[in-house]
């Protein structure tokens, strides 16, 4: 794509190219970590500023943080249930905030201004490694939640309500992380691709509504991921009678 004669500085797109960092025997995608560190830094800065001087009558950033906290609490409470939602609220909230910040950061920050020798900066969630990592964390946490809450009785869930369900439930354990990771990855990558292709074809005006649509899907995807993660955990700790 870069070989095309007329290229706009913001319209270039390099899919599947990465900036490799070599650490020992392992290679990692440098661009993913660079953007994620910047975005996590921004998130932490917001959190630190907002929690620096908290009062009973909230002011400024504290309002925003309390709104987010309330939102995440409601999400965790409705999906996981009154009994254990407190234990899982930080995890659900972190998933939501990290994915939200990654998606919006990837869409809103003009990363193209920074030239990389290979690959390009963008949403960390547009890299399959990130989304699979998040999805596997969700799998681990719902297993952990089920086992720590109910012990071996957790496996009753697999034969509930009838043992016929057993194969389906086992398949579910694989499809859950698969669908979680691919849904997020596909949506964010597709969004970036659509915007890039549109900008490449019609540089003015037309991509703007698509960009707004992209922001909308980005937010929705963060919510979906967090909600599903909470739902899986809630399913694992639910008591069957």
């Amino acid at each position: 794509m870069g070989s095309l004669p007329f290229v706009f500085p913001f319209a270039e797109l390099e899919v599947g190219q990465h900036l490799y960092w070599q650490i020992g025997n392992f290679r990692i995608h440098g661009q993913v970590f660079m953007t994620s560190w910047l975005l996590i830094g921004a998130l932490l800065a917001l959190v630190v500023i907002g929690t620096k001087k908290m009062e009973r009558d909230p002011k400024g950033v504290q309002n925003l943080l309390e709104f987010l906290w309330d939102y995440i609490r409601d999400l965790a409470r409705t999906q996981i249930g009154e009994k254990v939602y407190r234990d899982w609220m930080p995890f659900i909230g972190t998933l939501f905030l990290f994915i939200f910040v990654s998606n919006w950061g990837g869409a809103l920050v003009p990363w193209k201004l920074i030239e990389l020798p290979s690959g390009e900066l963008g949403a960390p969630t547009a890299d399959i490694n990130t989304t699979v990592a998040l999805a596997l964390l969700v799998s681990l946490s719902y297993f952990y939640a089920g086992l720590s809450n109910k012990g071996l009785r957790y496996f009753e869930y697999y034969v509930h309500p009838t043992p016929i369900m057993l194969p389906f439930k086992i398949v579910e354990d694989f499809t859950k992380p698969l669908s979680l990771s691919f849904r997020l990855f596909g949506n964010i990558l597709a969004d970036e691709l659509v915007v890039a292709v549109l900008v490449f074809l019609v540089p003015l005006v037309l991509p703007v509504p698509v960009m707004f649509l992209g922001l909308f899907t980005s937010a929705i995807q963060a919510l979906i991921f967090a909600t599903l993660a909470a739902y899986y955990i809630g399913e694992a700790v639910e008591e069957h009678h």
Partner: protein, 153 residues
């Protein structure tokens, strides 16, 4: 652009799994702990403190309202009682004053009667006295006339 989707290429590609995956997982777990310490715990504490404060304030206010209502009914009862008592006192006072008036009237009437009676009696005695005196004087005079007449002879 057939090179857009480099599935399974030896270098790079969309599904290029490597050490990014575990590192990202570790990073997210770390972020969870950091955000728990910096965000979820402190904000939760503040929000829950406020919720407690609001709840206790509301409960206190309710208790105070109930107290006030109790006091109000008590006061009303007291007021009613006081009013009844006042009415009773007024009635008693009225009766008392009427009694006093009647008594005074009776006393005055009897006194007036007595003094009138006394006056009449006095008048009667005086009249009787005067009559007696007149009578005796007339008798004397009569006697004198008779004497004189007899003496002339």
């Amino acid at each position: 652009m057939p090179t857009l989707f480099l599935f399974g290429a030896s270098e790079g590609g969309l599904f290029d799994f490597d050490a990014t995956l575990p590192l990202m997982a570790v990073q997210v777990v770390l972020l969870t702990f950091i955000l728990n310490a910096l965000f979820f715990k402190p904000v939760g504490r503040v929000v829950e403190e406020r919720e407690n404060y609001v709840n206790t304030s509301r409960a206190e206010a309710k208790k105070k309202i109930a107290e006030v209502e109790g006091l109000e009914t008590e006061l009303k009862a007291q007021l009613k009682e006081a009013r009844l008592e006042a009415q009773k006192v007024i009635l008693e006072a009225e009766q008392d004053s009427e009694n006093l008036y009647k008594e005074a009237l009776a006393l005055a009437t009897s006194e007036a009667n007595a003094s009138r009676e006394k006056a009449r009696r006095e008048i009667d005695t005086q009249r009787d006295d005067a009559l007696n005196q007149l009578k005796s004087e007339a008798d004397n005079l009569g006697d004198l006339i008779v004497e004189r007449l007899l003496a002339k002879k």
